[in-house]
């Protein structure tokens, strides 16, 4: 049923000066990386990507960057405090391919770390580009290294790893390697550039999109994308390149809570 289940925060991990991961006991059944949960703090409710899916320990986690009122309220919570969760929602990443490049930018690393762990666990070679503005904001390095995936860090200011944007490092990496799948989540401008790149390299790829959401259950139409009307909360948030070619607003604009368009 599409109603929140109230759970207690089991653990909190400080990932960076701005990002915390909140971990909950949760009976993992259909949850996969790329799915999202609607997170209710008894004041507001927002979609949050799963950054941890552990079907053995029956734990899930969501990672939140403190960027506004809602995220600030959640960041102030402690272990044992309650939150409401409903989900999992949407179509997650399909784990396919034998050598995968996973590109995460900023808090977009949340589903990428969960994906990398799961894909590595079943024996797929995964290279992860973890892009951030600066070294203190590089996320999930320990988890990625522990998973067996190869970590390639990248910062805008060059304070850690490759100096430049995630897309610059992706281009270099794509030239040097023979991948048969690319997955990505991050700022849409980055994903748009990466999308054009994988089209050039003729590689199948999956991208996780973000749009303003209200119901999360496919009814309100708030997250429908042009021109085919697909609901990011049901048909997405993960789309394949052949679908993205038909999402004309990708990399162009988004609609706000009232439905007014804003250019990216």
């Amino acid at each position: 049923m599409h109603a929140p289940t109230v759970v207690k925060i089991k653990r909190i991990t400080e990932e960076s000066p701005t990002v915390k991961t909140f971990i909950f006991d949760w009976k993992v059944e259909n949850e996969i990386p790329g799915n999202f949960m609607m997170l209710w703090n008894f004041n507001d409710e927002k979609p949050m990507s799963l950054s941890l899916v552990d079907p053995v320990k029956n734990e899930i986690g969501i990672s939140i960057r403190n960027v506004g009122e809602f995220t600030d309220q959640v960041h102030k919570l402690n272990v044992g405090d309650k939150l409401g969760l409903r989900g999992p929602y949407g179509r997650g990443f399909h784990i396919a391919g034998s050598k995968i490049l996973a590109v995460g930018g900023g808090i977009g690393m949340a589903p990428i770390v969960a994906f990398s762990e799961e894909a590595s666990k079943i024996g797929i070679e995964v290279h992860v580009i973890s892009a951030a503005s600066t070294m203190n904001e590089v996320l999930f390095s320990d988890r990625i290294q522990r998973s067996g995936a190869k970590l390639l860090t990248c910062t805008d200011d060059g304070s850690q790893g490759f100096c430049g944007f995630g897309t610059d490092l992706a281009e270099k990496t794509l030239l040097e390697n023979d991948y048969n799948m690319v997955v990505s989540c991050g700022p849409e401008i980055m994903m748009k550039k990466l999308f054009e790149m994988v089209e050039r390299f003729k590689l199948p790829a999956q991208f996780s999109l973000e749009r303003y959401m209200k119901c999360g259950m496919g009814l309100c139409g708030q997250c429908c994308v042009d021109d085919l009307g697909w609901r990011v909360c049901v048909e997405g948030p993960v789309f394949w390149t052949d679908e993205l070619r038909m999402i004309t607003e990708f990399g162009q604009y988004k609609r706000d809570a009232s439905g007014v368009k804003h250019n990216l």
Binding site: M1, H2, A3, P4, V6, M38, W40, F42, N43, D44, E45, K46, K82, G84, K214, C215, G216, M217, G218, L219, C220, G221, Q222, C224, V225, D226, D227, L228, G229, W230, R231, R255, D256, A257, S258, G259, V260, K261
Partner: protein
């Protein structure tokens, strides 16, 4: 020979199903998608004069037999919505659902979109609207009449009026709307309003605390409303409330609806619901030897 095409207020529809107002429908893209999925006509999400963010989340929660919602009529405003209406592919008739606070607002919005749609549906029945809109109007027969009259004076295209079941006597409101010039009546808007409270914390789940109930649970109420109003008005009735399969559609037709709208059940069935329902209806008509949908309208009244 079974024919599912119908004509409603002079508008030809390839089948008697429409996408209901408020479910998807806030962009040309999702309206065109419903059309592509087999809907006989599409109704937009309600829009008003100015952009409106609606209520904060949670705006929707599932309950037994349906959903309660308090989206709060979020929309980008008539001028932005016109840009969407211009992008409709026109493969099926389009109906613009409008809301406002007074006759002037309704007729002004109606005038701005008249050239872009085939009909209007006046939302005087939203149970969680702010600022004197929605059911605050539809629960008042005189105010309803005033609004219908002013819109009818302004436009030439058919005007449907969507009624709220949350009144003592829906027949009275229906009669007033008809007398004021409504070309058809859409019934019912969501029921209640209702509430759901989280038992772990005691918090009402919806930010607005209460919201309109839709989905299969409201169907018996909708059927009764259609049945009662059918006996008292001449204009066609568009039945809506809890339709999930073709059998529900037949019940509405038998109660007196000329066609139906489908909304919440898209959550259960996906956009394929239109195609599935029309197929089921055709098969039923074939088995029962009905040639036209019209023959089935009001059968429960004999």
């Amino acid at each position: 020979m079974t024919i599912v095409e119908i004509e409603l207020c002079g508008i030809k529809m390839k089948n008697p199903t429409m996408l209901a107002a408020g479910i998807l429908g806030s962009t040309a893209a999702s309206l065109n998608w419903a059309a592509r999925s087999g809907a006989g006509a599409v109704v937009t999400k309600s829009f008003g004069m100015n952009p409106n963010k609606g209520y904060a989340n949670p705006t929707t929660v599932e309950v037994t037999g349906g959903v309660i919602n308090a989206i709060g009529l979020s929309n980008p405003g008539v001028n932005n919505f016109k840009v969407e209406l211009e992008k409709l592919n026109k493969s099926v008739p389009a109906i613009a659902s409008l809301y406002g606070a007074n006759p002037e607002e309704f007729s002004e919005i109606a005038a701005r979109v008249e050239g872009l749609v085939d009909a209007l549906e006046l939302n005087v029945s939203c149970p969680h609207a702010m600022g004197g809109c929605g059911s605050a109007i539809g629960q008042d027969p005189n105010l309803t009449s005033e609004i219908v009259r002013s819109v009818k004076k302004m436009v030439k295209i058919p005007v449907f009026v969507k009624l709220t079941p949350n009144v003592t006597d829906i027949v009275e409101i229906a009669r007033h709307a008809e007398k004021a010039g409504a070309d058809a009546l859409t019934m019912i808007n969501s029921l209640g309003p209702g509430m759901r409270i989280d038992i772990e914390t005691g918090n009402p789940i919806l930010k607005n605390r209460f919201g309109g109930l839709s989905g299969p649970a409201v169907k018996p109420v909708a059927i009764r409303c259609v049945f009662d109003v059918f006996e008292s008005v001449e204009v066609p009735i568009i039945g809506v409330g809890g339709i999930r399969d073709y059998k529900d559609v037949i019940e509405f037709l038998y109660a007196g609806a000329s066609c139906v709208q489908i909304g919440t059940s898209i959550m259960y069935e996906g956009m394929e619901i239109f195609e599935k329902i029309v197929f089921g209806l055709e098969r039923f008509m074939n088995e029962m030897d009905y040639e036209t949908v019209e023959e089935m309208v009001g059968i429960a009244h004999k």
